[in-house]
Amino acid sequence: MSKNLSELSGRKGLKYNLFDELGKLAIEDGTPNKDALAKAADEFLIGKANTYGTASFYDFMRPENKGKKAYVCNGSACLCAGTQDGVRTELEKHYKADEIGDMCCLGRCHENGAFHIDGKNYSAKTAAEIAQIATNGKQNGVQGNQDKYAIECYGTQVLTAPFPGVDAYYELLLSMIERGQDACLEDIKKSNIRGRGGAGFPMWIKLDGCRKQDADQKFIVCNADEGDPGAYTDRYLLEEQPHSVLFGMMMAGFITGADYGAVYIRAEYPEAIEITENAIKDLYAKGWLGENIKGTGFNYNFKVIKAQGAYICGEETALLNSIEGQRPEVRVRPPYPVVNGLFNKPTIVNNVETLAAVHYILEKGGDNYASIGGGKSTGTKLLSLDSHFNKPGMYEVDMGTPLKEVVYNIAGGFKKPVKAVHIGGPLGGLVPTHKIEDLTIDFESFAQEGFLLGHASMLCVPEEFPMVKYLEHLFEFTSHESCGKCFPCRLGAKRGSEMFHKAQNEDYKIDRELLNDLIHTMETGSLCALGGGVPLPIRNGLMYFEDELKEYLS
């Protein structure tokens, strides 16, 4: 985190965005060349070390990415499904081994076999399909894409409601502007909606905090860096309901006095980027964006920022650094983004799903929304279910819905024996199947039982998949994605993955006390929820699967 770099990047801001420019420089070769990085540094009055340091951070900009043409998903769902060795073998028939890279979770957890070619995502079941995509994809781009999943609502339809068309949908903006900022904020407050990105922080507190800041410029940032393997909720919303997200951002802008929105979408979701960009174009064309929108005096503009492959950017302060073209390392708090966010200006960072609920809340009223669910968890929640369920897909349920209802009724149970469901991403709780009946879909129930609702993705660990391998995968994932800033995460995740790897492949048993110390160090010492969060599923694993694991422990 550098104040100076934030300021200098902020001079050109979102319009001519440093990170965006760096991304463009990588398009041709997979990594920007040094001359171009030096030029960008000069242009932005920053150091060559800064542009180089930034580029070297991201999967899709770092020097190692040079010449990569195809990417195989190595997310947890595809790993557990065991489809990826086949995908790679097949792709190697069409590409040189060093032309094939990895991408972490393309959000095809519902069907697996996911890979990425020429800016498009695919999931294929058979070698023939892969061959067809590899050939066609190389030649003319598309074809052969599956991406079919159930989209159903089992309660109040908030996030999955059909879209009535731009003008009809945005009418609400005009009436809300008329109602004024206070009334809008009051509804959000009454709705008691909590952040859907995982942390569950009340939305209204952020809005209120940002609104109170006296600043010449404020920003609304949508965190669409849905990096959790197993989660594709945000992908669904951006691809199928982009206007709900954009509308939420505009309202957040209206309430706080921000006139610029940045949608930060991961590069692993190329279709979401395209669809969102088109939705914004449509809004401009219909006069719903720009200066003095429909004569209301309200100004608003959007910028879609394409991420470059780094899980940590889902952490809000890393995300802000990322947009600024800095290395996306986690910032210390305070100052909080609502005071000192993007380019050191007051900034709201909200998750896609949180923003997508705003239209419903303002249209139906905060009380209405608050009446869905209960306690501290109100409204509805989207759940993304992976291919181990009989009916994989996207389900909207009211908060408070029993988990067993979701698993066994809505999703039709498991296709094959499953020993645990990893809910809420890699940092969420590892729920053994026998605990399913103790949980309901809300923040409190999960916390009480020692799990975490998180973003509510549901990813199954099959019975035959070794738990020791799964825990190694979690450590390895954390190590690969650690920004490297804080000592416990940078070093701890690496040592954790090494210990688990050694235990499976060498005559080595993990010192239980050392492992406990490591987990304690990461959990209590880490700067952010990555290093601080991975101990939870590790602990769950150690607790519920002790029998399976004890041969690896001393």
Binding site: M1, S2, K3, N4, L5, E7, L8, G10, R11, K34, L37, A38, A41, L45, I46, G47, K48, A49, N50, Y52, G53, S56, F57, R62, A310, R327, E329, V332, R333, P334, F343, N344, S479, H480, S482, C483, G484, K485, C486, F487, P488, R490, L491, G492, A493, K494, R495, E498, M499, K502, D511, L514, D517, L518, H520, T521, T524, G525, S526, L527
Partner: protein, 915 residues
Amino acid sequence: MKKVAYINNRPFAIEEGETILQFVRRYHGKNAVPTLCDAPNLDPFGSCRVCSVDVALEQGGKTKTQASCHTPVQEGSYIYPESQNIQKLRKNIIELVLTDHPLDCLTCEVNGNCELQDVAARVGIRDVRYPDGENHLDRKKDLSHPYMTSDLSKCINCYRCVRACDEVQGQFVLSMAGRGFDSKIIKGMDETFFESDCVSCGACAQACPTSAISDIFQSKAVKATEKTRTVCTYCGVGCNLEVSTANGEILSIQAPYDAEVNEGHTCLKGRYAFGFYNHEDRIKTPLIKRNGKFEPATWDEAYDLIVSKFKSILETDGPDAIAGISSARCTNEENYLMQKFIRAVVGTNNIDGCARVCHSPTALGMQRTFGTGAATNSIEDLKHTNCILVIGANPTSGHPVTGARLKQFAMKDGNISIVIDPRRTELAKYATYHIPLRPGTNVAVMNMMLYYIISEGYVAEEFVKNRTEGYEEFEKQVLATDINGMAKIAGVDKNLVREAALAYARAERAMSFHGLGVTEHSQGTFAVIQIADLAMITGNIGRKGVGVNPLRGQNNVQGMADMGVQPHQGAGYLDVTNPDVNGLYNNFYGRKVPSHIGYKIPEMFDAAIEGKLKALWIMAEDVVQTDPNTHKVRKAMDSLELLVVQELFMSPTAEMADVILPGASFLEKSGTFTNGERRVQRVNQVVAPLPGTKPDGQIVVDVMNRMGYPQPDYDPAVVLDEISQIVPFFKGIKWAELGKNGKQWPVKEDGTDTKILHGEEFKRGKGRFVFNEFAETTEIVDHGREFPFILTTNRELEHYNCGTMTRRTNNVKILTEDTVMVNPADAALKGVKDGDSICLISPRGKVDLKARLTDEVRQGVLSTTFHFPEIMVNELTGDVHDSEAKCPEYKVVAIDFRKSKGLVGRKVGEMVEVN
């Protein structure tokens, strides 16, 4: 009721906005909480987590572990800095660190002074339990650079170096590359130190808690037996230095964090360029020229010769045939003694110093306007200002520590920075407004600024009414300015000037800074007056964060003038022609002191050539190389009967001397220097003078005694005591009371000093507005047609003045030569390519230099440095001086240039005979 929080259940008062770390350390000392990524001059970063503490909302309540360095202390919270949980956490973090750190402490250069070692010992690490894993112990050392070194196998990824490079120096040379476990420190784009854009300030080396980044002097090693705090001898910033020595030899230099002036920072000159002090070239014995050759002599022989010559000249030609040039490099006490010798012992006011060729217009212009010729405010005021106006100064090179602060200021959104400079300087790149005027047109541009401020109603009327005089007439004259005409003359966009002027006027607090780009002009004094006018007209005087702040060039150029080194004012700026003052001096010195004004330096040269001046004593100054129009200076030196030069090294001036006296460097003597913000700071002797040399003050004292004036041996405490009795603003200054950070004059008798001048009223009563119209320099009027380009001069960071000192250090390996900057369009016109040798031709001479093509200079303007005197840039400079203060016009030379021909057998930069 004071708000409290609890440390181990005991209540302590908290301060608004402090972090837990600050809070705990304030009561329990620095060692109360161990840290690795924290550093005194850097923002909290939160990477090492070693500073974590447990915090509960009630006594014995549920605790949460928080990093104390970036968590604000909460009222009523219960902090447990050493709970079992915390002890375990710290130990386990350090154990992780040691899985990727070489365990070779005993052979490490920082053994005994390593923060990792200290913390590891403190948390009680016994062993590393992790199995062998991946590590970075095979990283190679980088020894490419003349000063900086790195051994990243020792790196713990605390980012302190990266942050120092960013937050302190503002250079962005260092960053991290890669991510997670593989992330590593890089210089530039993963290059060596030498290949990178590193400015060698050493902030990273000082910040590094291990030896991952260090320097060739191993400045964090514990070899030193002694550490001495002193003040840097280079520029007028006045950085405090902490010099490590062992066995009477200097090992290394660091910047103390508690220094008010430099707050733990300094530049490559202050930190690394000290090697000159015992360089083999030092003159180690007095030298007397016999038959055109220098022969070693004893001090007695040298003194006898000087004294007998002085006496015979006094007898035959009178005291005014003798003159002295004192030195801004020497201490206040030495300068005081030198002027005392000339005035009281010789009996003439022929005393002057190098301020003549740099900031004499500043002193004069500010005296005329305010009554005092010194900076009105302090550098720390940058923390309180909203706007900086930097005119004719390139502080990132010339005054690097202040430059770094100005750059930090300019980078922040919301701050206004205005740079008026022909060159796109480092600061100009970051400025809100850069006005790239033609050299020599400062007065035109500032009259435009005054015009816009007045005509658009931004005058601070109350201030002008209550605090100033002469405004009505001034306003009329300013409003008569031909704006379009001036804009054309200066070659500037008038709207840009307008915007900048109004931004300056609108700022709640605006500070101006100026350098030699203002003073070294034919209208230098007038431009200074305008800068003062701009401050007065906007009410930017007498408060925090405002004022007129000349960036004084040399370490003690302020002090030199304060001590009376000028022909019209004695010690304390008292007018020598005033009968009361004359009486005071007569009485104080116990001798009859003359009351007519003596020669200024250029007048000394004229008088020597005319045969009126017979003897000149120069203390530590190289006039042949640094004063304009070298031919004339040489002629003057040749015309003298006696030239005495006190020097460290043989210089072109020393070579012309009859007697050379070997002086001592700042590291070998004590005294005081006064920096550009009037801060009188103690220079403490670090090592004994090289055998055969003497402190310059002692040399003067020796000659005084031999001339029959009883003066006790050089002891700064004693001389300072004498000074405090005659210089009014030194009244309360006592050697023993100056402390670590010195005092800013005026110092009252009770010892209280002054950070801001002219608070209630100006030194002269009311501030005086005087209008001066732009006038083209005769250099351009007379020669502009034939020599259509303008050559101006600038500095490079690595070298100091003519390089006498810096070229005897490794700095010369970093910057090896002078070059001349040429705009690519001009170069194309003359068929010159980057790196070509070009011949610069002025009405006075020709010089060959290597061209560097850059758009840092505008079309029609070339700029060069003069650090490598063999090039003799002053062969080109002319005889035009500031109309008031006689400061030479170094900044505007009419020239033409062409690609050099016939360079075969001749080195670039070699002197060329004038046809």
